[in-house]
């Protein structure tokens, strides 16, 4: 089922060392180290403003680090050699303007574009796109407009678009927003398959602790610094999380000064203690 070539498992694909990133003057990420090897499925969790999206955008080369560096296959993120190796599923990928009459096939084909293919006549694009549509399980909807798909189907299409450049590393920013519970599970299964059968490396940022905990191999808790990095089964409970964050533990529903709670869907909402950090 592999698309073109299958990367060697266990090889280091991404290394982040001593990374600090500022956004509009504030240090959002300070001095973190992270190494990811091929074939891993990693969930990054943390509160809003904790630096999750910032980390993703820095790995993509969209944001510049203040200090430290990022290597993808031992090259800088913006280097020609890493072009197409990293796929991105943006936050709110499911927000497609209603007046845009674009079909699933057309949408996924956009993912195959690279600097080199800009002017070239591109052969085999059709077969490649159809193969990806098969992988993500949207065969029935090949010529359906994106606007007519459900949230979960759009998310699949967005994953397909990210895969279309033969990406080995897939970075996903809140992919479960706007997706119903049932589709969440099937998308997690799709990602799990991609990971195991095609050796894709997946880094997924999410609020939805419950659904990623079941699937990912490794969890990272990021709140300015990495407070936890390890296997999923030893990921601490929420009360212990507060300890990790160096904040007084509070229990959901108790008191008015709580800074985190879990709703019925297992989604953590953490009220950012901006002032706490400063004091």
């Amino acid at each position: 089922m592999g698309i073109d070539f299958v990367p060697v498992c266990g090889e280091e694909i991404l290394s982040v060392s001593k990374l600090s990133v500022n956004r509009s003057g504030n240090e959002v990420i300070s001095d973190i180290n992270l190494t990811i090897t091929c074939g891993e499925f990693i969930g990054i969790v943390g509160p809003n403003g904790g630096g999750k999206s910032t980390l993703i955008l820095t790995i993509l080369g969209v944001l510049k680090p203040r200090t430290g560096n990022i290597k993808i296959y031992d090259h800088a993120p913006t280097s020609n050699l890493t072009l197409g190796k990293v796929g991105w599923v943006p936050q709110a990928a499911t927000n497609i303007p209603q007046n845009l009459q674009i079909t699933v096939k057309e949408f996924i084909q956009l993912g195959t574009l690279t600097r080199k293919s800009l002017f070239q006549l591109r052969k085999n694009v059709r077969e490649k796109v159809l193969k990806i549509i098969e992988t993500i399980g949207l065969e029935e909807y090949t010529n359906t407009r994106m606007a007519n798909l459900s949230g979960g189907q759009r998310q699949r299409a967005a994953i397909g678009k990210a895969l279309a450049s033969n990406a080995d590393l897939l970075l996903m920013d809140e992919p479960m927003v706007g997706v119903d519970r049932e589709s969440r599970n099937s998308i997690m299964r799709l990602l799990d398959d991609l990971c195991h059968e095609q050796n894709k490396t997946i880094v997924m940022v999410s609020h939805d602790l419950a659904s990623i905990k079941r699937t990912v191999h490794r969890m990272v808790y990021l709140e300015q610094k990495i407070r936890y990095d390890g296997p999923t089964n030893t990921f601490p409970d929420l009360s212990d999380l507060a300890e990790l964050r160096g904040i007084e533990a509070t229990h959901p529903g108790k008191g008015s000064n709580q800074n985190s709670k879990v709703d019925s869907d297992g989604i953590i909402t953490i009220i950012i203690p901006n002032k706490l950090e400063g004091e």
């Binding site: 845009l100 084909q109 993912g111």
Partner: protein, 305 residues
């Protein structure tokens, strides 16, 4: 005049061949005399490119950029005519490119939102054009005002040459950059990550838009340029099942609009630009209304089953 003459040489006999089939008393004139053939050919070329470009402008929510640039070109043409330039279109094109790049810059740096940047350029240059004509214009006033409403007589062999070259170059560019422009319009960050030269393409895009707008100001008129850029693309959006279909349909609709507009303006001896705008708006209303009736009919049909 090389390209323009070549186009007339190739298409002229074909138009003459069609002439007996064309209805109307005055409209067939467009098909026989080179003097009238030029505006007809120019209008068809421009409407195709405008429809193509319009499909992209609509998804970028830049429907009014055509309007903005047309007003900029009015100011530029007014000054060009006062200074005594023979080919005001080239001069207007240069100024429009600068304006389009500035608008794009202000948007990407998020100094101003799209509409605001366009509005400032639009009003500023229109004001400049009018004031300059009033103060220094003298005899040029009437010919400058021809550009406001559009006048087919303005298309001489020089402007025809400009229009044909601009249209051919824009059309080829749009075909080549089709995928890249679509990706940049939907998701500029993804385009950057995939290694596309987003800055360069956006810049080139601004130049394209300026070229298309400037080539249509003479016969549609500054105030009505948007009719050919936005309306056919908007109708196409209502009818399409894919983006490719949208692009093709908006070109076909553009050509139909122009032919109907020129037909009615010739038969009723009215302004060509105003008639084209009126025809395109009428087409939009007809399509939108019949579509909503059709969907409602279909829905009630499904319910009864």
């Amino acid at each position: 005049m090389v390209v323009g003459d070549l186009v007339i040489e190739i298409l002229g006999p074909f138009l003459e061949f069609l002439e007996p089939l064309i209805p109307g008393e005055w409209f067939p004139l467009y098909f026989v005399k080179p003097y009238f053939q030029r505006p007809l050919i120019a209008a068809i070329f421009v409407s195709m490119v405008a429809g193509f470009l319009g499909s992209f402008l609509l998804i970028r929510n830049l429907a009014l950029i055509g309007d903005g640039l047309a007003h900029v070109s009015f100011g530029a043409i007014a000054i060009g005519l006062i200074v005594g330039m023979i080919d005001p279109l080239y001069w207007a094109f240069a100024i429009c490119v600068v304006a389009a790049i500035l608008i794009d810059y202000l948007q990407t740096k998020q100094l101003l939102s799209g509409d605001t940047a366009i509005a400032i350029f639009l009003t500023g240059m229109l004001g400049l054009g009018v004031i300059a004509t009033r103060i220094w214009g003298g005899g040029t006033l009437s010919s400058v005002e021809g550009y406001l409403w559009g006048n087919l007589n303005l298309i001489d062999s020089d402007s025809f040459e400009f229009i044909i070259i601009a249209c051919l170059a824009s059309y080829i560019s749009l075909v080549v950059l089709y995928q890249s422009l679509l990706l940049i319009s939907i998701d500029p960050i993804a385009a950057r990550i995939q290694g596309l030269p987003v800055r360069f393409i956006s810049l080139y895009w601004s130049i394209l838009t300026a070229a298309v707008v400037v080539s249509m100001v003479q016969f549609v008129g500054v105030l009505l340029v948007t009719a050919l850029i936005v309306t056919p693309a908007a109708i196409a959006q209502l009818l399409s099942r894919s983006f490719l279909m949208c692009v093709i349909l908006s070109q076909i609709l553009g050509v139909i609009t122009v032919l109907l507009g020129l037909y009615y303006s010739a038969e009723l001896s009215t302004d060509s630009g105003a008639m084209i705008a009126l025809v395109s708006a009428t087409m939009f209303v007809i399509v939108a209304v019949s579509k909503s009736i059709f969907t409602r009919f279909k829905a009630s049909d499904n319910n009864s089953n």
